[in-house]
Symmetry: C2
Subunit: 228 residues, 2 copies
DNA sequence: AGGCCCGATTGACATCGATCAATTCGGGCC
DNA sequence: GGCCCGAATTGATCGATGTCAATCGGGCCT
């Protein structure tokens, strides 16, 4: 479990700068953040932070995937967001939230940048581009989370799987082929399903022209899938 | 269905100014917003805006309750947030979201203030207190929505009802009495339940010392309820 | 190439919650 | 205080999904 924490290399600075969160920052703010970023690598399954820990960092994922989840009293855990390359998470920007309200775990080997949220907060006060980026990021997360919540309440498992697939199909394709960027395990969690239920949802979609081989998913009739 | 749209009276300005969103604004920004606010009253069940409509307003609720919901293809609708007095909703702050991604409906007779989100956006660029207020509001909404999502996935109906009750009990009380601020209908929606399921959840909680009479709920043993 | 191991699938079952229908309740109004 | 309508409860049933257990399969390592 490599856990060295380094300054960003040129390559990493490039990756970070292309991120949705950093793309629109003023050159000044961007430089400040890049300079203070700590780059770290973590092995699959490593914990990034846990529910209740002191929240002073703010993360930007460079490569790999991360699970954000909460645990119930009985020990079961529920994912509510899966972060991929370029995503920002744990935006603890209001001073009040001193503790992380959830846990974060590397779903595979990852590389991420750690920022100090106090610093970001102060920067946002002086530089409107930072404040704007925060607002845009939060808005987007809120939209996405709301979407997930509504989907859970409105759609069955096969419908949610179909939605997921359709979101990454070219809009006007007749057929399509998709390669999942991670294990089905993760996909199940992000759809709020047990792995078994995901499997069954895929079988249910066979009749709609969806065939699965490992991580590769063939969709013979995109339009038909939309009707599910 | 009264739908007049007026300048804010002194009383309404006072209410608005005490709102979580406006409380921390600079005097300048506060005055600007209060001056441009349109106050309107709507009858129960009136639509405030609908999914897909042009999003140019930003609302702050003064009195009553509002349902935010989305509709599925089959016409069923799912609430994802219930707004009460002082709440802000439809924060369409990034220029990109030109359309409301959901619908809003008055759950009872309400009084609300309508702001221009373009104006708020511009104000946020110049005044850091506005940007800060937006960040705080969005953070809080994100936290709350995440909480709901996780609760849905982790807890059964009686547990979610118990959670709701416990959140509005004095922390250290042995017993408590709560008066619901709205119809059970609304509560069901906000917990993601059919009204029948809410009823059944309440009966299930009888064994834990919860008794219901109309809108009044008696909890004989708060600590016991926590164990559910 | 073979074997191993973890992830994925399948089956059987239990449980939860939605739905539909039939009462009952409660609160607002006269 | 009584009436009446909409809201809430209760019952019966069904479908969806979680859970546990067994098996299968693919990828990876040697």
């Amino acid at each position: 479990m490599l856990d060295k924490s380094n300054k960003a290399t040129t390559r990493e600075r490039g990756l970070l700068a292309k991120t949705a969160f950093m793309r629109s920052l003023s050159p000044n703010a961007l430089a400040t953040l890049l300079d203070s970023a700590q780059i770290m690598s973590l092995a699959a399954r490593a914990s990034i932070f846990r529910e209740g820990e002191n929240a002073q960092a703010f993360y930007c994922l460079l490569t790999g995937y991360v699970r954000l989840y909460r645990m119930g009293k009985d020990g079961r855990q529920a994912d509510f967001r899966i972060c991929g390359p370029g995503d920002v998470f744990a935006e603890c920007l209001i001073p009040q939230d001193a503790r992380y309200p959830y846990s974060a775990q590397a779903a595979e080997n990852i590389c991420l940048a750690k920022l100090d949220c106090r610093e970001v907060r102060l920067l946002a006060e002086r530089d409107a581009t930072v404040a704007n980026a925060l607002i845009a990021t939060l808005s987007e997360h809120l939209r996405a989370t709301t979407e997930v919540l509504v989907n859970d309440r409105l759609h069955t498992a096969p419908q949610r799987v179909a939605d997921y697939l359709l979101e990454r199909c070219p809009v006007d394709a007749g057929s399509a082929s998709i390669r999942l960027p991670f294990q089905k395990n993760l996909l199940a969690g992000m759809l709020g399903l047990a792995p078994e239920a995901l499997s069954r949802a895929f079988s249910a979609l066979r009749r709609a022209g969806v065939s699965v081989r490992g991580r590769v998913i063939q969709i013979s009739d995109v339009k038909a899938l939309r009707e599910i």
